[in-house]
C-alpha cells in the first residue's frame, strides 16, 4: 500500500523548510535587526554634534572642535590634574562628545594656577595640543561684555563685599595670599571704588603686572604675555567700560567673578584672539 502511494505522488522537493533552516533564517534576520538597532543608536550621537546643541568651552590647548572630538580618548586625565577642578565631563546629551572634557567658566574658570598647563601635559592623544606651552598661547574663547547695562563699572558703580551668593564654590589663586593653594573666591572681601573685579582677576593681566614689576612667573620671561587682555576705559557720559584686548585667552576668570547675575561679561566660544585680530 505504501508503495502505491509513493507512486502516486511524484518525488518533490519539500517546500516547507526544516526547523533548523527556519531558525537559522530567523536568527540571521534578527541579527540584522540588532545591527540596525545598535548602529542607529550610536548614530543618534550625530544630532547634538551637527546641530551644535551644546557648545562647550574646551580645556586649554584644545584643538578645533571637530579634531578635538576625533582625538579625545575620553580618559579624564586632564580633569584629574586640574588644581581648581575647572574641567568637567560632558554627558550623553552631547552625543559623540559623551565623556569629553569641558569648562563651565561661570562655575569654575581656568585660572592657570597650575602655571604649567597640567591638563595639556596629561593629555595622551594631543587633543590638548602639546604645542601650547604658556597661558598666553591658550585660545579657549574670547571674552565679551555681553550685557553692558548690567555692568557695575559701566554704571560708574563700585563693589563692596563678597562675590556671588553663598552657594558659590569657585576657586582662584590669589598668589599674594597663598602661592600654592587656590582659595575660595567667596572667602574674599572686596572694596573697589569702581568695580574692576574682572580686571584684577584676569590671569593674563596678573602675569603682565608681575612681569612689569620685574618678577615674571617662575622667573621665566617666556611666561610674560605679549599683550594686554582687558582694561577699563572711560565711557562718554560717565562710567567705565571693560574693554577686551587681543591678549584675552578666554579662560573665563572674568565671567566667574563678575558680581552681577547673570554675568555682564562672558566668554564667547565662537571667537578667539586669533580670529578677532585676523
Amino acid at each position: 500500500m505504501t508503495d502505491d502511494k509513493s507512486k502516486e505522488k511524484p518525488v518533490k522537493k519539500p517546500r516547507v523548510l526544516d526547523r533548523k533552516t527556519q531558525e537559522a533564517r530567523r536568527r540571521f534576520l534578527r541579527s540584522l535587526g540588532l545591527a540596525a538597532g545598535v548602529v542607529s543608536a550610536s548614530l543618534v550621537g550625530f544630532i547634538p554634534v551637527v546641530r551644535g546643541y551644546n557648545p562647550r568651552l574646551r580645556p586649554p590647548g584644545a584643538l578645533a572642535e571637530d579634531e578635538f572630538l576625533a582625538s579625545c580618548i575620553k580618559c579624564g586625565q586632564c580633569i584629574q590634574v586640574c588644581p581648581v577642578e575647572a574641567i568637567k565631563l560632558t554627558d550623553i546629551m552631547d552625543g559623540f562628545g559623551n565623556g569629553t572634557p569641558h569648562i563651565d567658566a561661570r562655575a569654575q574658570a581656568c585660572d592657570f594656577s597650575c602655571d604649567g598647563l597640567q591638563c595639556v601635559l596629561a593629555c595622551p592623544t594631543g587633543s590638548l595640543s602639546h604645542d601650547t606651552n604658556y597661558p598666553h598661547q591658550v585660545r579657549i574663547g574670547f571674552a565679551e561684555l555681553a550685557r553692558p547695562d548690567l555692568c557695575l563699572a559701566m554704571q560708574g558703580k563700585g563693589f563692596k563685599g563678597r562675590i556671588r551668593d553663598a552657594s558659590f564654590k569657585g576657586l582662584f589663586r590669589y598668589a599674594e595670599l597663598n602661592r600654592w593653594q587656590p582659595l575660595p573666591v567667596r572667602g574674599q572681601e572686596f572694596d573697589r571704588e569702581i568695580c574692576d573685579l574682572c580686571i584684577v582677576h584676569c590671569p593674563i593681566e596678573i602675569r603682565r603686572n608681575q612681569c612689569e614689576a620685574g618678577h615674571p612667573p617662575a622667573d621665566d620671561p617666556n611666561q610674560c604675555p605679549p599683550s594686554r587682555a582687558i582694561g577699563l576705559e572711560p565711557v562718554e557720559g560717565g562710567g567705565m567700560r571693560p574693554v577686551i584686548y587681543e591678549g584675552c585667552v578666554g579662560c573665563g576668570a572674568c565671567e566667574m567673578v563678575c558680581p552681577v547675575t547673570p554675568a555682564a561679561i562672558v566668554v564667547d566660544m565662537t571667537k578667539n584672539a586669533d580670529t578677532v585680530t585676523a
Partner: protein
C-alpha cells in the same frame, strides 16, 4: 596552523567545526576510542561536582582583581596619589602611558594622527594583554563585564522559572560591528563607538561620578536580562575582538586535558563563550591537551566548575602553533 585558523574563525563568529580524523593525534584517538565504550556514571559526576561546589576559587579572585583595578583608579584620583590616573580608555600607571587598544584604534582611525604618547600606551597595553591572555581584559578588568555577569545570573534564574527565553543572534554579527565601527570612525572622524561603549561609560562613572549615560548601560543590562543572554559581550562589543586577536598567540590559556574528562558538559553551561568549549564534547579534542581558543575570556568559570580538573589555567607557549 589549523588550530590558529580555527581559533581565529571562532573569534570572528564561525561555528566550531568537527575535526577530521586525520587531525586527531594517535594518542587522542586512543582515548576517544576507549571513552566511546564507557558509560557516564551520573551519580559519580554529581558526587564530584558536590565536592567542588561553592568554592568558586577563580570567580573570587577574578572579582577581587576587577574591583581592585577599578577602585585603584578611584582611590588614585581621590587621594591624588598618582598611582593609576585616567580611566580604562587611557591611563597612566605610575607615570607610564596605557591606552585601551580598542579606544586607541578608534582615535587613530578618527583622528588619523598618532601621537607618541598614544603609541607608547598602545604598545605597553598590547604587550601586557598578550602576556596575560588577550580577552582576559574582558572578564578580569572590564567593569561592564561584572554588571553583565550579575544580569546573566538574573537572566538564568528567570529562564529556569520559564519567565524569559534566551534569544540568540548570529555570533558573526560582532565582526560586522567591528568593521562598521572602524569604518564609521574613519569616515565621520568621530569615535562613534566610544560614545556608546558601556566599558568607557561605566569606568568613567565609577571614577568621575554618575552620568545620564548610565541609562544606556541600564538599557543594555535589561536587554540582556529579558531578551538575549550576555548580548553585548557576545554579539556587539568590538573590544572583545580586539583583545581576542591579541590573545590568539598568548601563552596564558585555559587548557583542556582530555584524559579524565567526563564530557558531562557543565563547563559549557557556565561559559560566556560556550563555542570555545566545543572541544570538550566527546570525540572533538584533537590532542590529549588542547588550549581553549582565542575567544575565551580566561574567566575561569569552567575551571571552577570542572569536577575532574580537566580544564586548568596554563602559562606556556603553544605547541599547536608549530
Amino acid at each position: 596552523m589549523k588550530y590558529l585558523v580555527e581559533s581565529f574563525m571562532q573569534l570572528l563568529g564561525r561555528a566550531p567545526t568537527k575535526p577530521e580524523k586525520d587531525d586527531i593525534t594517535p594518542a587522542a584517538q586512543e582515548i576517544h576510542f576507549y571513552k566511546r565504550g564507557q558509560k557516564l556514571d551520573m551519580d559519580e559526576v554529581r558526587r564530584l561536582h558536590d565536592e567542588k561546589q561553592g568554592k568558586n576559587k577563580w570567580l573570587k579572585r577574578r572579582w577581587a582583581t576587577l574591583l581592585f583595578v577599578n577602585l585603584l583608579f578611584v582611590v588614585s584620583y581621590y587621594f591624588d596619589i598618582q598611582l593609576l590616573e585616567g580611566a580604562l580608555t587611557a591611563s597612566r600607571f605610575l607615570g607610564f602611558h596605557m591606552a585601551d587598544l580598542n579606544s586607541a584604534l578608534q582615535v587613530m582611525l578618527a583622528f588619523k594622527t598618532v601621537l607618541i604618547n598614544l603609541l607608547i600606551g598602545t604598545v605597553t597595553v598590547f604587550v601586557l594583554w598578550f602576556l596575560v591572555g588577550g580577552r582576559s581584559f574582558c572578564s578580569w578588568v572590564c567593569p561592564y563585564h561584572l554588571l553583565s555577569e550579575w544580569a546573566e545570573k538574573i537572566h538564568l534564574w528567570l529562564a529556569q522559572k520559564k519567565l524569559v527565553k534566551d534569544i540568540p543572534f548570529h555570533r558573526a554579527i560582532r565582526s560586522v560591528f567591528y568593521v562598521i565601527f572602524a569604518l564609521l570612525a574613519f569616515a565621520t572622524g568621530y569615535t562613534v563607538f566610544e560614545a556608546i561603549s558601556p566599558t568607557g561609560i561605566v569606568s568613567r562613572a565609577i571614577i568621575y561620578g554618575p552620568s545620564l549615560a548610565l541609562l544606556w548601560v541600564l538599557f543594555l543590562l535589561l536587554f540582556e536580562i529579558f531578551v538575549s543572554r550576555r548580548a553585548w559581550c557576545r554579539y556587539v562589543c568590538p573590544i572583545g575582538i580586539t583583545y581576542g586577536v591579541v590573545g590568539l598567540l598568548s601563552p596564558m590559556r585555559v587548557t583542556y586535558v582530555l584524559e579524565d574528562c567526563k564530557h558531562e558538559g557543565d563547563c559549557r553551561k557556565v561559559c560566556l563563550v560556550p563555542h570555545v568549549l566545543d572541544v570538550t564534547i566527546k570525540g572533538r579534542a584533537t590532542d590529549t591537551r588542547v588550549p581553549v581558543g582565542a575567544d575565551c575570556t580566561r574567566c575561569g568559570m569552567c575551571v571552577d566548575v570542572c569536577p575532574t580538573n580537566s580544564l586548568r589555567y596554563e602559562f606556556s607557549w603553544l605547541e599547536q602553533l608549530k
